[in-house]
């Protein structure tokens, strides 16, 4: 869904009437504060850069210029410096890469650098002096932002504006000493929980798994596999635990592998596969597709979902220690959210399955709805065919508290009805 959207937006922006040369002649400096160093990205509008470069560099074409890494690096180096606020020692600045990219429709030179503090000093408190371009183009302005700082729960989605660098004001003080690993971890846990809460597709998938949890498979007289209510609470609970654990293990594994970028599958393909797993789970909930080894299938599906989760962590580019904490916390958040869903839904499902004659109908209704949603997602994600089903699903989910309430109500009423019907049978056992 996401890559398609961003492609659409990119296309639309190219189709707008005029690329205004009016626009953005400002540079942007993005800082990622790590545990041992600061990673910086400087985005310089090419037009402004060419006004400021020394003559020998100015004469080049942009493509040729980008190849001159050594010369450009020394130009940047000459106009950028960082001094530790702790011991006034100088940071070592190393240009890592140079590239050209479009930012807000304007061609920019993108310079990535690492800034390493002097021995014994922290990378979290320093004075930065930047007169790249400004040394010559006196009206030039640079926006300085903190893009990532795990210890202050600062993530790339919303860079924090620190200040401006401009004429006669080329130094900015960075002080990120407040903050701790726990602050970041807490934010990542919340992010993991929100990821599930906002993920309608994942929710429907979970619901499809859960509605068959209180059931077992049997072959009917015609030889077809069908669902029957299971009478063993222990078996039901064990089933749920096995399935959820296998799913968790699966997605944790692939989340780790994907986040480490050890595998790389186009996100569109992943999104389509996720929708396919939902479709399969939904159909399976209507009429079993296979017998036995539920946990294996749940684990396999988990693997696919884990890759989709990893897309939320794409921008978390921290150093290893922070990365591990971030990944662990995010996964923890996912698990907590899933546990919450299970805790909130399963009791009612078990009661309904046991006491309500509507359970089968309900199961088929929910599973059909899920299957329909999954189909529309497949169409949308694979073919870009947007339809009316997705908004409907989203609308329905805004009613989820009410739906849950009616589930609960129905469950309670079923229990009461059942008790009433069986009051005259003293031998009848409940549960």
């Amino acid at each position: 869904m996401k890559p398609l959207f961003s492609l659409l937006i990119l296309l639309m922006s190219f189709m707008s009437t005029q690329v205004h040369a009016h626009a953005a002649n400002q540079s942007t400096l993005l800082l990622d504060i790590g545990t041992d160093s600061v990673q910086a990205e400087l985005q310089i509008p090419v037009d402004e850069l060419f006004l400021a470069l020394p003559d020998e560099l100015k004469a080049q074409s942009l493509d040729a210029l980008v190849q001159q890494k050594a010369e450009l690096s020394s130009y940047i180096d000459a106009h950028l410096s960082a001094t530790s606020s702790e011991n006034n020692g100088k940071f070592a600045i190393k240009v890592r890469s140079l590239s050209v990219g479009l930012i807000n429709q304007v061609s920019n030179l993108i310079v990535t650098m690492s800034l390493t503090p002097p021995q014994g000093a922290s990378p979290r408190a320093f004075r930065l002096t930047d007169n790249v371009v400004l040394h010559r183009v006196v009206n030039h302005k640079t926006t300085v932002t903190i893009r990532r700082d795990f210890a202050n729960a600062q993530f790339a989605e919303a860079p924090q504006l620190l200040g401006m660098i401009y004429y006669q004001n080329d130094t900015i003080v960075i002080n990120q000493t407040k903050g701790s690993l726990w602050l970041g971890a807490r934010a990542m846990i919340r992010m993991g929980m929100e990821h599930i809460a906002d993920g309608l597709d994942h929710m429907l998938f979970m619901i499809s798994l859960l509605i068959i949890a209180p059931m077992i498979r049997k072959r009917n007289p015609a030889g077809k596999l069908v669902w029957y209510p299971s009478s063993s609470v222990k078996e039901k609970c064990l089933n749920i635990i096995k399935v959820v654990s296998a799913f968790t293990l699966g997605h944790s594994m692939t989340l780790l592998i994907s986040a480490l970028k050890l595998i790389s599958i186009p996100s569109q393909a992943i999104e389509v596969m996720v929708a396919v797993t939902i479709l399969l789970a939904a159909v399976h909930a209507i009429r079993p597709l296979f017998e036995g080894r539920d946990w294996l299938v749940a684990g396999a599906f988990g693997c696919i979902h884990g890759m989709a989760f990893a897309s939320a962590l794409e921008n978390i580019g921290f150093d290893l220690k922070t990365f591990v904490v971030a990944l662990f916390s995010f996964n923890l958040g996912i698990e907590l959210a899933q546990l919450l869903i299970v805790a909130v839904l399963v009791p009612w499902l078990i009661l309904l399955a046991r006491f309500s004659k509507y359970y089968d109908g309900l199961r088929v209704l929910i599973a059909s709805f899920t299957a329909l949603a999954a189909l529309s997602w497949i169409l949308e994600r694979a073919l870009g065919f947007r339809n009316w089903v997705n908004p409907l699903v989203e609308q329905l989910f805004s009613f989820s508290p009410y739906i849950l309430l009616s589930f609960a109500t129905l469950a309670i009423l079923s229990v009461l009805q059942f008790k009433r019907n069986h009051r005259t049978h003293p031998c009848a056992k409940l549960m």
Binding site: H22, V137, Q168, L392, L396, L413, Q417, R420
Partner: protein, 404 residues
């Protein structure tokens, strides 16, 4: 028995509740689309033969919608400039609908609104207030009459020329972002004779920000720009809104000797834009004025009387865009001998080309103790291959009447 009936009823209701939920979801998702915000349009002409003015006004006010003329006799009859401005403001407001009145009026304490103005097209940076294109014919006429009262004749001609330039750009393939109807008017604080308030008139290449403090007017920050900068014709009229400004600045430098011109050159500095542009809603005065040893250029008091007259003529191009009630005091302060002893003229650009407005990057400024004027020549945006002007006039101590 009664209980079981209720129970079975309830059991029936629960699934129905779910179905109802689904159906309502279907229904409301159909109407979930909302139209994007449309511009305020009211074709209803405001009433009024009454003008909401002081009692000594004779019945004047606005004529009916069929004939588009306005009677400003009542306001003209007032003796002070501020009274006229307030009268015309009220006459304009009287033509507006209730919702238009709300959108045109901001609170005096709103610093963000005061500092929101720009040189960019309004599709890039939103302006405060009511758009000309959203006004009725009557309101637009009254608005223009108000502007004609707020500005001098030269100023009003620049105002018309800047809007005409936008129509010219649109006709030259610039797209619908450009248009004389994309200009805005706003009041910050209520227009009163003996109080504090501000009027903003602006759009692409235009920003008039005039603050009135007990009747004294402070017309900065002010921006005017021109693309094309040469004269152009649109709708059977010819305009050249910044010809005067550009020519006067060039003349000021051309009047220098070659060594003086050399001395006034800002060596090592390139200008792709002015140093102190729009405040972008910051709510504070800018602080990037050159200070100390950075204040370079040719000191005006070191020039001959003829050369100084050229400086004064350039200053007038901006300051005399406002009526003498506003500009006399300012001119006196900006061009006094004391001021000129602390005023520098400087230029930048391609040194070999000199002060050539057809070369991009040519930059000129007047830097006084209060007065600050910058004019830069930038590449054309719509009209390729020709430079265009951006100019800003500010007052280091009295921008926004120093009331931020």
């Amino acid at each position: 028995m009664r209980h079981s009936t209720i129970l079975s009823l309830a059991k029936l209701c629960a699934p129905i509740a779910i179905v109802v939920a689904v159906v309502t979801a279907c229904g409301s998702s159909g109407s979930a689309k909302s139209t994007s915000s449309a511009t305020v349009v009211s074709s209803s002409v405001a009433s009024s033969s009454a003008s909401a003015v002081s009692s000594d006004a004779t019945s004047a006010g606005v004529s009916s919608s069929s004939s588009v003329s306005i009677n400003s006799a009542a306001c003209d009859a007032l003796t002070t400039h501020i009274a006229k401005v307030v009268c015309m403001s009220d006459a304009f407001k009287a033509t507006l609908t209730a919702s238009q009145l709300t959108s045109v009026q901001y609170d005096w304490s709103n610093k963000k609104a005061k500092t929101t103005w720009s040189n960019f097209p309004t599709s890039f940076v939103a302006r405060n207030g009511l758009r000309f294109g959203a006004m009725s014919a009557e309101s637009l006429l009254t608005a223009k009459a108000l502007v004609a009262t707020v500005l001098s004749a030269e100023g009003y001609s620049d105002f018309l020329g800047t809007m005409a330039a936008d129509d010219y750009l649109k006709a030259s393939g610039g797209g619908s972002d450009y248009s004389s109807s994309n200009y805005y008017i706003a009041f910050i604080g209520t227009p009163v004779v003996n109080g504090s308030w501000m009027i903003q008139i602006g759009g692409h290449h235009m920003a008039y920000n005039i603050t009135y403090l007990s009747g004294v007017g402070y017309p900065t920050p002010n921006h005017i720009g021109a693309e094309p900068k040469a004269s152009f014709e649109i709708n059977s009229a010819t305009y050249s809104p910044m010809a005067g400004e550009g020519n006067a600045m060039v003349a000021m430098f051309k009047g220098l000797t070659s060594s003086e011109l050399d001395y006034a050159y800002l060596s090592g500095q390139t200008y792709s834009d002015v140093l102190i542009g729009p405040d972008n809603g910051s709510g504070v005065l800018p602080s990037a004025y050159p200070s100390g040893s950075n204040r370079t250029g040719k000191r005006v008091s070191d020039l001959t009387a003829t050369q100084q007259a050229l400086v004064t003529a350039a200053v007038e191009q901006w300051v005399r865009d406002y009526p003498s009630a506003v500009s006399d005091a300012l001119m006196a302060d900006y061009t006094s001998p004391a001021a000129y002893a602390d005023t520098f003229i400087a230029w930048a650009g391609t040194k070999s080309k000199g002060v050539d407005v057809d070369t991009a990057g040519t930059y000129m400024r007047i830097d006084g103790p209060r007065l600050w004027i910058e004019l830069v020549c930038q590449n054309g945006v719509v009209i390729q291959g020709k430079t265009h002007y951006h100019a800003f006039y500010r007052d280091k101590t009295m921008d926004y009447g120093n009331s931020l």
